[in-house]
């Protein structure tokens, strides 16, 4: 009997050891799955693409674009406590690592896209419908990657110059998911070549996905719109014009011509002029809030904005311009206890569906990263630079007519270019384009004509700041994190 006990005890120990080995080697988390198991079905592919779009929705920063603070159309008020003042003040106030988070976020998105592009190749499909879906998802990834590299090369490298692009340092082209890679800077030309290659790949894969107003997924029209934007950067005037004009002449996205409709488009997230609008809902997929352009405070009974437009930008609009009545609103303010009335930015007043149950706006609107109006401006600018003033004026007037009810005539050469640039400034104000445009045009600026300095942040380099053309801070610094950890990443951008 005693012997038997011994056997039982020994048996229990063996069972215990055996079980524990199994458990130790097979513990997996419950809130995540292994990366190596993420590419089994077309449904997996749809989830990778959903992740990509979800990240894009957060990364489309038009209503809260720091480049707009850095440029010449805004003043910072006294109620802004240090948020983003570095961008606004330039010089020693603007630290090299202020914009590091953009680099980090965009490369994180690219890492996911790279992993997915490779992983999709191992997914086998069993039906034609599945194959078509997989093809579309792959196209989505390439187009998203092109978008991110374009943002990166604009912000962290010199403007594309056909004469020097082949030697100007661009940004690292990370095209394969590899955590341990230490990539060097590709040239500006190589980056743009890759962007165009990714767009072409996307266009081929998305050729049977038709464009539609307010599409929440990428399609052939969105690919064409990005192509137009990129070719304009590259001074490929003919290519930019062709791409932009293709979208204009499709007639899918007619311009809005009345004040009421234009206001509704911006307030209620209309889709008429949008080639793409990320999916949003009121629960788990809300859009980012805009900057504090209004900041209505019910206890003060007035607005307490952090950023207000300069009088100069307001003065750029005619009174009959429907953009003036849409983008701006004159309203009571109470800023640090100082009361008065100012003209405020009302382009992102907040879609009421996001603040149901509250009387105060949450200032959330769906991002509108690709609008047809930009295509008219690209077509006009490209044609004007391509010695084609007639087509330039046609595109310019189509937009101007829709917004102001009038047309320009007899414009040529410099006057034509300047008018197109002004129109672009008016149309795309506060959408994050301005600083990139100044950089592309090789212009400096003076942030002139504040509305009322009583309400504004004062001190060195605030109101009336002058930045010369070609100032090195138009191009952001590479993050010191990457320079420190990646010996191949050099040189730092000039001046930083």
């Amino acid at each position: 009997m005693k012997k038997l006990h011994k056997y039982i005890a020994a048996g229990l120990i063996i069972v215990a050891v055996g079980n524990s080995c199994k458990k130790i080697n097979n513990l997996n988390p419950h809130d995540a799955i292994g990366l190596n198991t993420g590419f089994q079905t077309v449904q997996d592919a749809s989830k990778w693409v959903a992740g990509t779009y979800s990240a894009l929705r957060g990364n489309f920063d038009m209503p809260q674009s720091v480049t707009d603070l850095q440029a010449d159309e805004l003043n910072i008020t006294l109620s802004n406590n240090n948020a983003n003042t570095g961008y606004y003040r330039w010089g020693s106030f603007f630290g090299a690592d202020n914009p590091a988070n953009y680099w980090e976020n965009w490369y994180a998105a690219i890492a996911n896209i790279d992993a997915a592009i490779t992983g999709f190749k191992s997914i086998t499909t069993s039906s034609a419908a599945d194959a078509a879906s997989l093809q579309q998802y792959t196209g989505d990834l390439y187009l998203a990657r092109a978008y991110y590299f374009h943002r990166l090369v604009i912000r962290y490298a010199k403007t594309y110059n056909p004469g020097t692009a082949a030697t100007d340092p661009g940004v690292p082209l990370v095209l394969v998911y590899d955590v341990d890679a230490k990539p060097d800077r590709s040239t500006v030309k190589a980056v743009y070549t890759q962007i165009l290659s990714d767009i072409t790949t996307a266009e081929n894969l998305l050729t049977s996905v038709p464009g539609q107003q307010g599409s929440s997924v990428f399609n052939i029209d969105v690919a064409t719109a990005l192509e137009a934007r990129v070719r304009l950067d590259m001074q490929d005037w003919a290519g930019a014009y062709t791409a932009a004009n293709k979208l204009i002449s499709s007639g899918t996205y007619p311009l809005i011509t009345t004040l009421a409709n234009f206001q509704s488009y911006w307030t209620n997230d209309g889709i008429q002029e949008s080639l793409f609008q990320p999916f949003t809902n009121t629960t788990t997929e809300q859009p980012n809030a805009s900057f504090s352009y209004l900041g209505y405070d019910p206890t003060l009974g007035a607005n307490n904005p952090s950023y207000v437009p300069t009088a100069a930008i307001i003065g750029l609009y005619q009174n009959n311009d429907i953009r003036k009545g849409t983008y701006f609103a004159s309203d009571a303010v109470d800023i640090n206890g100082i009361k008065g009335t100012l003209t405020l930015i009302n382009k992102y007043p907040g879609n009421p569906i996001f603040y149901t149950g509250s009387a105060v706006s949450s200032y959330q609107n769906a991002p509108k990263p690709f609008r047809i109006a930009e295509m008219y401006l690209i077509a006009a600018e490209a044609a004007a630079n391509n010695s084609d003033p007639a087509d330039a004026l046609t595109a310019l007037n189509a937009l101007h007519q829709a917004r102001c009810g009038t047309t320009y005539s007899g414009l040529a050469s410099t006057a034509l270019i300047d008018t197109i640039r002004s129109e672009r400034t008016r149309e795309l104000a506060f959408e994050g384009f301005r600083l990139d445009d100044l950089k592309r045009w090789g212009l400096g600026f003076t942030r002139t004509d504040p509305q009322n300095t009583t309400f504004l942040l004062s001190g060195p380099s605030t109101v009336n700041l002058t930045i010369p053309a070609g100032d090195y801070q138009f191009t952001w610094a590479l993050p010191s994190n990457d320079l420190t950890l990646n010996p191949n990443l050099k040189p730092q951008n000039t001046g930083w």
């Binding site: 524990s20 292994g34 996911n112």
Partner: protein
């Protein structure tokens, strides 16, 4: 002799529900909450499997030896790297028991010890949340980035299949002695080498990640630990005594290896650096003061190797650039010399006890100063009076630059403060009621009334609210409070 096996299997499950806007005390279920009813759940598991053996030997109650060995496996590490083997050994000698000391009456006790051994660590601290992570070796993706109702995938961690045990080897030599029935001394010298440290290693952002948990780097700590007590006066008949005590810890730490074979790593935006062969030091632009003629702030230009401090008054610049100007300040965050002292005394039931703590060579970086000495950048903030000492005219010997042309305060060495301090941590005065009072009562064995004060006063040159803060950067730190307690302690 002892041998054994140990198995640990831990599962943590949690779920929660959340709702707000309840307006009726009588209806407090989640169902009654009108808005934001959120739910969540989590589950984490880990397992350890260990075999161990231990042997002890004792000869004549004079010589002692012990040795142990263990093999541990943890589910937290990479599939082929789960196992770690650790050992220890030690000897001690009770010299008082030797014949040649036995009869020397003034020595009460003399023990000499030496130990060395290794230990494994499987606790991986999460970035940001400080919680122990269980799955860091795995490359993972989660599905919580929703788009149009689909749970979108994103890679949450790259994982490291080579992840394994962090190891610490501690060697100590110690002596424990007491003599004259009054003086007690416990001293030891130790060397602690930590290797294969489980750290979140910074990665270039182009990798898609800011950091990856890996085994990297080594750290060495050496030091002397001393505890000393002396009975200055004893009168057992009247329960009288005065005991003085001092304890001190002198340490020196240095980085002995870094990831990727690097010799130094200035942590971007942390204002600290790890340099091989040196303790962790503050690494930041070194402020040279204000130029008397122009009112411009000036910083020392770093030499070719920023790990070597360069304070050459002929090499200064007025262009602030945190990354270009940062260099080794040679100043560490941690105090190399810490300890405490005080006395305990009593007479006829009255007692008084004091404890002073001190830290010498400690430094803190005042983030408060960046906000409160910077009126032309933070106009809405309260400003310290010292900020009025800015440059106004040529020849001024000012602390701060010309307010009209320069940012008053940058992140530089002028924010670095010596936070050495001595503090009366504890003062306790009490009186135990004599047995003649409590003896009649069967309810209480003893009753003591006392008054206690904590953090009563501090000697320091540090400007901020509390030099005792255990951090590198101080912003809006809550200080330790002065506490006064009056109490009665009754033992049943």
């Amino acid at each position: 002799m002892l041998g054994g096996q140990e198995y640990q299997d831990e599962t943590t499950s949690a779920f929660n529900g959340y709702g707000s806007g309840l307006s009726d005390d009588r209806l407090l279920l989640l169902n009654d909450a009108p808005n934001k009813v959120a739910i969540g759940s989590s589950e984490y598991e880990y397992a350890f499997d260990s075999f161990f053996g231990r042997a002890e030997y004792d000869w004549n109650d004079k010589y002692y030896a012990e040795a142990s060995i263990r093999s541990d496996r943890s589910s937290r590490f990479g599939a082929d790297h789960r196992e770690g083997t650790f050992w220890s050994g030690g000897v001690s000698w009770d010299a008082k028991k030797e014949d040649f000391l036995k009869d020397i009456s003034w020595i009460d006790r003399l023990i000499i010890k030496a130990n060395t051994g290794t230990q494994g660590n499987a606790e991986i601290n999460g970035v940001g949340n400080g919680e122990i992570q269980d799955y860091e070796s795995l490359a993972l993706l989660s599905g919580t980035s929703f788009y149009n109702g689909v749970g979108g995938y994103s890679i949450t961690q790259p994982g490291d299949p080579y992840l394994t045990w962090e190891q610490q080897q501690l060697t100590t030599f110690g002596v424990d002695v007491s003599f004259l029935d009054r003086i007690r001394l416990n001293a030891s010298y130790y060397i602690r080498n930590t290797s294969n440290m489980l750290l979140s290693v910074p990665y270039p952002y182009t990798s898609g990640f800011a950091s990856v948990t890996q085994n990297t780097g080594s750290l060495e700590n050496k030091g002397i630990n001393i505890g000393f007590e002396a009975d200055a006066w004893k009168d057992p008949a009247h329960k009288g005594y005065v005991t003085l005590f001092v304890n001190a810890d002198i340490t020196h730490n240095k980085v002995t290896a870094l990831f990727d074979g690097r010799q130094d790593f200035p942590q971007p935006n942390y204002l600290q650096a790890w340099v091989v062969g040196q303790p962790v030091t503050f690494y930041l632009p070194l402020y040279a003061g204000v130029n008397k003629q122009t009112g411009a702030p000036e910083w020392y230009l770093p030499g070719p190797n920023p790990s070597i401090t360069n304070r050459n008054p002929n090499e200064v610049t007025s262009n602030y650039d945190q990354n270009a100007l940062q260099q080794n300040s040679g100043i560490g965050q941690y105090a190399p010399f810490t300890g405490g002292f005080g006395f305990r005394a009593g007479y006829q039931g009255f007692t008084i006890e004091t404890l002073f703590n001190f830290n010498l060579g400690k430094h803190l970086l005042s983030n408060d100063g960046y906000f409160y000495q910077n009126p032309n950048v933070f106009p809405g903030y309260n400003t310290l009076k010292v900020a009025a000492n800015y440059w106004k005219a040529p020849g001024d010997n000012a602390q701060f630059p010309d307010i009209n042309n320069y940012q008053m305060q940058q992140f530089d060495s002028s924010l670095l403060e010596n936070a050495s301090f001595m503090r009366l941590k504890d003062l306790n005065i009490g009186y135990s009621l004599p047995k003649s009072v409590t003896g009649d009562s069967k309810a209480f064995k003893s009753i003591k009334v006392f008054v206690e004060g904590r953090n009563l006063f501090t000697v320091t040159k540090y400007f901020g609210p509390d030099p005792e803060a255990d951090t590198n950067l101080v912003y809006g730190q809550y200080p330790n409070t002065k506490q006064y307690t009056v109490g009665v302690k009754a033992t049943l």
